[in-house]
C-alpha cells in the first residue's frame, strides 16, 4: 500500500519527470522508480507503472540501462513473487535493444527475477519469453536469449526441456556470429543445469560444433567452455571429450585462440586430473611457451607460476624450467616483462635448492635486463624471493640494478622505483639501506621532474615511518634541512613539502626544535612562492606543535606575511591565521 507519510508533491514531480525532455531528470526519476512504485501502491504499479515503462522504451541508452537495473529488484513493489511475471514484458523489450550494456543488464535482471519466480510461473511466463527471444527477428533478441536458458531449463517439464535443448543447439548454429558467440559464452552456465545424460550427448555435440566454428571469435569463447564443461563431467569423460579439444586448441591456427588456451590452461589441469596433465597438458603448455607469436608467449609466461603450482616440483623442473630459461632471454621485452612479474612466485614451488641453482641465474639476468619494466617487475616482487633465499645472495646484483633504475632517463621509471624503496628498505634492513640507498633518496629531492621530487618527499615520510623517528633524526633530517639553502627556489619548495610530510611522523618535540625554525627562516625568502608555501606548511603544523609554540612562533610569522606585497602570500597567511583562531575557539 502507499505510504501515507510520503509527501506527494515530490512524487508527482518525479512521475512527471519520467517524460521530461532533460535526460538527467528522466534518469533521476528512473533511479527512484521504487519511490514512485511505493507511492502508487502495488496494484497501480502492476497495472499502470509497468505497462507505462513497457510502452516507453525508445529512450536514451543511459535511461534504458537504469530502467533495466531497477526492474531487476522490483519484485517487492509489484506485490511479491506471485506477481513477478508482470516485470517480464518491459525487460523483454530491453533485451532487444542494440546497445550491449543495456541488453546485458536486462538479461541480468531477468535472471535475477527468474531465479525467484515460482516454478509454475516460470513455465507459464518465463519459458515462452525465452522461446520468443530465441526466435527473434533481430540478432539482439537471440543474443539475449542465450543468457536465460540456465534459469528457464531446471523448472521445465521434460518435453519442454527437450525443446529448449534443441533451441539452444540452433542458437549455436545461428547465421550471426554474435549469436554463436553469446551461445558459446553461456554454454557453461546452461550445461550446469542440464542432466548428466543429456550433457554427454546434446551439450557435447553443441560444444564440438562450436570448437570447429569458422569464426575465431567463436572458437576462442569455446575455450572458456572447456574449463566449465570439464568441471561438470566425470574425469574419464573429461579426458575422453574435453582433453582432445584442448590439445587441438593449443595448436589452433589462430594465435588468439592459442592465447586464450595459454591463459586458461592451468584451470583445465584441475579438471582432467594429474595423469593426463602430465601426458598431454604439460607438452601443450610447453608448446605455448615456445609459440611463434609473442602475444601467446606473454600469456603463457604470465601463468607460469600458477601452472607450476599444480604440478609436482620434478615435472616443473624437468619441463617448465628450461622454457623459463629461454623466455628470460626472449626477443620480446613484453614476454620478459610478463615472466619477470610472476617468476618470483616459482621460488616457493621449486624449493630452496632448485631456486638457488636454477632460478637465481634467471632472476639475475632479468635484473640486468635492458628494458626497465622487466627489472622493475623483479624488484616489485622481491619479498617473495627473500623468503626463500634471503637477501644476502641477491643484494650484490640488486644494488646496481636499483641504482641504474634510480637514474633512468625516463622519469616514469624513476618514479616506479621510488615507489618500491620503502618495500626494499623493509626487506634489506636498516644497515644495507644506510650504506647504499640513503644517498639516492636525497638525490631524488633535486630531480628535474616535479613528480619525482614530490614522490621523493613522500618516500622520506614512509622511510621515517618504517625505521622510526630516531633513525630519521640521524639519517634524513640533517640532510634535508641542509638543502633549504639550495639556490633554486623549486628545490627549496620541495624541502618545505618534505618538512610538512615529515612533521607528523617526527612528533611535536623534533618539529619544534628542528623543523619549525627552518620554516620560519624560509618566510624571509625573496620568492613569493616559497613564502606562501611557508604559510601553508605552518598551517599544517598547527595541530602538531603545542599551543604556546603556535602563539609564540607561528602566529607572529604569519602576521608578518599578511603584510606581504604579494597577494597570494597574504591570502594563504590569512587563511593560516584563521585556522589558528579556529583551533583556539574549539579548544
Amino acid at each position: 500500500m502507499a505510504m501515507v507519510d510520503e509527501p506527494l508533491y515530490p512524487i508527482a514531480v518525479l512521475i512527471d519527470e519520467l517524460k521530461n525532455d532533460d535526460i538527467q531528470l528522466r534518469l533521476n526519476s528512473i533511479r527512484r522508480l521504487s519511490t514512485i512504485a511505493r507511492a502508487l501502491g502495488e496494484e497501480r504499479t502492476r497495472k499502470e507503472l509497468i505497462p507505462f515503462l513497457s510502452e516507453n522504451n525508445d529512450d536514451d541508452d543511459e535511461v534504458l540501462l537504469a530502467m533495466a537495473e531497477e526492474l531487476g529488484v522490483f519484485i517487492p513493489y509489484v506485490g511479491g513473487v506471485e506477481h513477478a511475471h508482470v516485470l517480464l514484458p518491459p525487460l523483454e523489450t530491453l533485451c532487444t535493444v542494440e546497445e550491449t550494456c543495456v541488453r546485458d543488464k536486462a538479461v541480468e535482471s531477468l535472471c535475477r527475477i527468474g531465479s525467484q519466480m515460482r516454478e509454475s510461473d516460470l513455465v507459464d511466463w518465463y519459458i515462452p519469453l525465452v522461446k520468443r527471444l530465441a526466435a527473434g527477428e533481430w540478432f539482439t533478441a537471440r543474443v539475449s536469449a542465450c543468457g536465460l536458458f540456465h534459469i528457464a531449463y531446471p523448472s521445465a517439464p521434460d518435453i519442454l526441456k527437450t525443446e529448449l535443448r534443441s533451441i539452444y543447439t540452433q542458437l549455436c548454429q545461428d547465421d550471426m556470429p554474435m549469436v554463436r558467440r553469446s551461445a558459446a559464452s553461456n554454454l557453461g552456465k546452461f550445461a550446469a543445469t542440464v542432466e548428466p545424460a543429456h550433457l554427454k550427448t546434446d551439450i557435447m555435440s553443441i560444444f564440438e560444433d562450436l570448437t570447429q566454428d569458422d569464426q575465431d571469435s567463436v572458437r576462442l569463447l569455446a575455450v572458456e567452455g572447456c574449463a566449465a564443461l570439464g568441471k561438470l563431467l566425470e574425469p574419464q569423460d573429461c579426458v575422453a571429450h574435453i582433453l582432445p579439444v584442448i590439445v587441438n586448441f593449443s595448436q589452433d591456427k589462430s594465435w588468439r585462440v592459442r592465447y586464450m588456451v595459454a591463459n586458461q590452461l592451468y584451470e583445465l589441469c584441475e579438471a582432467v586430473g594429474p595423469e593426463p596433465t602430465r601426458m598431454d597438458l604439460v607438452p601443450a603448455y610447453v608448446r605455448l611457451l615456445r609459440d611463434n607469436e609473442a602475444e601467446v608467449r606473454i600469456a603463457a609466461a604470465g601463468k607460469v607460476t600458477k601452472f607450476c603450482r599444480i604440478l609436482n616440483p620434478e615435472l616443473a623442473i624437468q619441463h617448465i624450467l628450461p622454457c623459463v630459461k629461454e623466455l628470460s632471454s626472449d626477443s620480446s621485452q613484453h614476454v620478459r616483462s610478463a615472466l619477470a612479474s610472476v617468476i618470483m612466485g616459482m621460488a616457493p614451488v621449486l624449493g630452496k635448492d632448485a631456486t638457488i641453482e636454477q632460478l637465481l641465474p634467471i632472476f639475475l639476468s632479468l635484473l640486468k635486463d635492458e628494458f626497465p619494466d622487466v627489472r622493475l617487475n623483479i624488484i616489485s616482487k622481491l619479498d617473495q624471493v627473500n623468503q626463500v633465499i634471503g637477501i644476502d645472495l641477491l643484494s650484490q646484483s640488486l644494488l646496481p640494478a636499483i641504482v641504474e633504475l634510480a637514474e633512468d632517463r625516463h622519469w616514469r621509471v624513476r618514479l616506479a622505483i621510488i615507489e618500491y624503496i620503502p618495500l626494499l628498505a623493509s626487506q634489506l634492513g636498516v644497515g644495507f639501506f644506510d650504506d647504499k640507498l640513503g644517498a639516492l633518496c636525497m638525490q631524488w629531492l633535486q630531480d628535474k621532474v616535479y613528480s619525482i621530487r614530490d614522490a621523493a618527499a613522500n618516500n622520506l615520510k614512509r622511510l621515517a615511518e618504517e625505521f622510526g623517528p630516531e633513525w630519521a633524526m640521524q639519517h634524513i633530517i640533517p640532510q634535508v634541512l641542509e638543502m633549504i639553502n639550495n639556490p633554486h627556489y623549486l628545490y627549496r619548495m620541495t624541502i618545505l613539502r618534505a618538512i610538512s610530510l615529515l612533521a607528523p611522523v617526527m612528533g611535536s618535540e623534533i618539529t619544534c626544535s628542528r623543523l619549525l625554525p627552518v620554516v620560519i627562516n624560509a618566510s624571509k625568502d625573496r620568492v613569493p612562492n616559497i613564502k606562501f608555501n611557508v604559510a601553508k606548511v605552518l598551517q599544517s603544523l598547527i595541530p602538531i606543535v603545542d599551543q604556546s609554540m603556535v602563539e609564540k612562533t607561528i602566529r607572529p610569522c604569519l602576521v608578518e606575511l599578511t603584510e606581504d606585497p604579494d597577494v597570494d602570500v597574504r591570502f594563504f597567511a590569512t587563511q593560516a591565521i584563521q585556522s589558528i583562531d579556529h583551533v583556539m575557539m574549539s579548544s
Binding site: 502507499a2 506527494l8 512524487i11 508527482a12 514531480v13 502508487l40 542494440e98 533481430w138 550471426m176
Partner: protein, 511 residues
C-alpha cells in the same frame, strides 16, 4: 574456372544499360558547389539502402522503393515508357552532417570534413547503422525512426518542463499551451491547478502517469561512437569484418583494428612505416576484409601490389601471406610507370575468391589462389597513354578511381573521365565491354564492343583482353574532359544496378 555463379549463358550476353534515376541533377550552367561533390557511395548488404557522402561532410541516405511498391516516382515512371519496371528504385530518405571541419592544433593542420568512405554495419534492429570516416576520425551512426511524442496528463504544472527540449522542444513546448487552453477538461487531469502549492488536491489516487501519444515518426541520426586519434596519416579505407564485431581502418602507413563497441582503443596490425621516412617507397592505398573469412584481409599499395594477410598467424601482420603483383614487361619502364601502377581501390568479390583492383590504366581481376598474375586485365585508360605528360602536369594522373563488382561476380565496373564509366564482363567467354556516360542517356557514347576473341579466365595470366582501343572517342572529337571525372560508383549487391557519382549528382542505371 568458375567465377562465382556468373558464368551462365545470360552473363555472357552484354547488358543493355538504361537510365533509372538521378538525384541532385545539375541544370545547365549551374555551378557546382565544392561541398556538394559526392566523395563516397555504398549500398548496404541487402541493397535496400544506399548512402552517399560528400565533401561537405554530409551523409545522404536513400531507400529502395520498388520492393515495397510505393508507386515510385511518377515522373520517373512517365519518363520511361513502361511502368512495369522491377529494377531498383530509390528515394531520398534522410541526411545528416557526419563530420565538421576541424583544426589539429598540435600539428597546425586543417582536417577536412570530406567523407572518404562509408561502410554499412549489421542492423541490430529496425535502425540503420553505418560507419563514416574523413581523413582522421571514424564515426558510427545510427539512423532510426523516432516517434514524435506528445505528453499529456502532467501531475504538476508543466511550465518548467516547457522549452528545454533539445530536439522535440517545439512539439513538447506546444503541448502545455494547448493543455492550458483546454483547462484540463479534455484530459481529465486532476493536477491541473495552476498554483503548485495547492497540490495535491486528491491524495495518492490523483497521481497519474504521463500519457504519451505519438502519431508521426521522425528519422533521427545519432552518432553512437567516435573512433578518433588513431591515425597519423589520412584514412583511405574502412572495412567491416565478417564477425560483426570488428573493423579496420587504413591510412597511408598503418592499418588499425577496432572493436565496434570500444572507441578508445585500437590495435595496430600493419605498419609499413620505415624507421627513416626518407626510405619510404610505398604507401597503403586501400584495404578490405575478406567477405567471409574473418582472418583474411587484403591491402593494396602505391607500387601496384596487393598483399593478403592472415590475422591468425600473428598479432602484427607486417609479413604478408600472399603477394599479388604483376611483373612489368621489360623495356616498358618510363617516368610514369610507378605512378600509374599505384592501385587506387581494391574490392573482394562476394564469394571471396577474387579481388578486383584498379590502377590508373587498368582494372585487374585476381584469383586469391593464383599469385603469379591477374586472371584478367581490362584496359580502361590505354588511350590516355600518349597524354600521360599532360595528365601529370595537371595532377589528373593521381586521381583515385574506385571499382566495383556485380553481386554475382560476373561483371566489373569502374569510372573514367568525361563522366564516363565502363562495365566489363569477366565470366568465361564474355567479351562484354561497355562505355556509359553518367547522364540521362547513358548509351550516347557507346562504342561498339570490340569482337576480339577473349580467352577463358585463368588460362593465361596477364593477357590484355579487350577494350584496349578507345581511340574512337578521340577520333569522334569528344575530347576528354579531365575535370569531369567519375571516381565513385557502386554495384547493387543483388541486381544489375549501378549507382555512380558525377560531381554532385547521383546517377542510377539498371540493366
Amino acid at each position: 574456372m568458375d567465377n562465382g555463379g556468373g558464368s551462365s549463358e545470360a552473363a555472357a550476353q552484354p547488358l543493355e544499360w538504361k537510365f533509372s534515376q538521378v538525384f541532385g541533377e545539375r541544370t545547365a550552367g549551374e555551378e557546382v558547389q565544392e561541398v556538394d561533390i559526392i566523395s563516397a557511395i555504398e549500398f548496404d548488404k541487402s541493397g535496400d539502402h544506399l548512402a552517399t557522402g560528400d565533401r561537405g561532410g554530409r551523409v545522404v541516405l536513400f531507400e529502395r522503393t520498388d520492393t515495397r511498391d510505393n508507386g515510385g516516382q511518377r515522373r520517373d515512371l512517365e519518363m520511361m515508357d513502361y511502368s512495369m519496371s522491377r529494377h531498383p528504385e530509390f528515394r531520398y530518405k534522410t541526411e545528416f552532417q557526419s563530420h565538421e571541419p576541424e583544426f589539429d592544433y598540435l600539428k597546425s593542420l586543417e582536417i577536412e570534413e570530406k567523407i572518404n568512405k562509408i561502410r554499412w554495419c549489421q542492423s541490430a534492429n529496425s535502425a540503420l547503422y553505418l560507419l563514416s570516416t574523413n581523413d582522421k576520425t571514424i564515426k558510427l551512426w545510427k539512423v532510426q525512426e523516432k516517434k514524435v511524442k506528445k505528453v499529456f496528463d502532467w501531475n504538476v504544472h508543466p511550465e518548467k518542463a516547457a522549452g528545454n527540449g533539445p530536439i522535440f522542444g517545439s512539439h513538447v513546448s506546444a503541448i502545455p499551451k494547448s493543455y492550458m487552453a483546454n483547462g484540463g477538461c479534455g484530459e481529465r487531469n486532476f493536477g491541473c491547478a495552476s498554483n503548485d502549492s495547492s497540490f495535491p488536491p486528491g491524495g495518492v489516487s490523483s497521481l497519474r502517469l504521463p500519457v504519451v501519444t505519438s502519431q508521426e515518426t521522425n528519422l533521427v541520426a545519432g552518432c553512437r561512437r567516435i573512433y578518433a586519434h588513431a591515425h597519423d596519416y589520412h584514412i583511405n579505407s574502412i572495412s567491416n569484418n565478417s564477425d560483426g564485431e570488428t573493423f579496420i581502418s587504413a591510412d597511408d602507413l598503418r592499418i588499425n583494428l577496432w572493436n565496434l563497441e570500444i572507441s578508445n582503443q585500437s590495435f595496430n596490425i600493419v605498419d609499413v612505416k620505415p624507421a627513416n621516412m626518407e626510405d619510404l617507397t610505398e604507401v597503403i592505398t586501400s584495404a578490405e576484409f575478406h567477405p567471409t573469412h574473418c582472418n583474411m584481409l587484403a591491402y593494396s599499395s602505391s607500387k601496384g601490389s596487393i598483399r593478403l594477410i592472415d590475422m591468425r598467424q600473428s598479432a602484427l601482420c607486417d609479413t604478408h601471406s600472399k603477394l599479388f603483383e604483376e611483373q612489368e614487361a621489360p623495356g616498358t619502364r618510363s617516368f610514369f610507370t610507378e605512378i600509374i601502377a599505384s592501385i587506387s581501390d581494391i574490392k573482394f568479390a562476394r564469394n571471396g575468391r577474387h579481388i578486383l583492383s584498379r590502377d590508373y590504366m587498368t582494372l585487374k581481376l585476381w584469383d586469391i589462389n593464383m599469385d603469379s598474375g591477374p586472371v584478367a586485365t581490362f584496359q580502361v585508360h590505354e588511350h590516355l597513354r600518349p597524354k600521360l605528360c599532360d595528365l601529370y602536369e595537371n595532377d589528373s594522373i593521381f586521381d583515385k578511381f574506385e571499382c566495383c563488382l556485380s553481386g554475382d561476380g560476373g561483371r566489373v565496373a569502374t569510372g573514367s573521365y568525361s563522366n564516363l564509366f565502363r562495365v566489363f564482363g569477366c565470366s568465361e567467354g564474355s567479351a562484354e565491354s561497355t562505355t556509359l556516360e553518367a547522364s540521362k542517356n547513358p548509351m550516347r557514347r557507346q562504342v561498339q564492343t570490340p569482337s576480339r576473341p577473349s580467352r577463358p579466365l585463368g588460362s593465361l595470366s596477364g593477357v590484355v583482353r579487350r577494350g584496349a582501343d578507345n581511340s574512337a572517342l578521340d577520333a569522334n572529337g569528344n575530347a576528354f574532359d579531365f575535370s569531369m571525372k567519375l571516381l565513385h560508383l557502386a554495384w547493387h549487391p543483388s541486381e544489375n544496378s549501378i549507382a555512380c557519382a558525377a560531381s554532385n549528382s547521383l546517377y542510377m542505371y539498371y540493366a
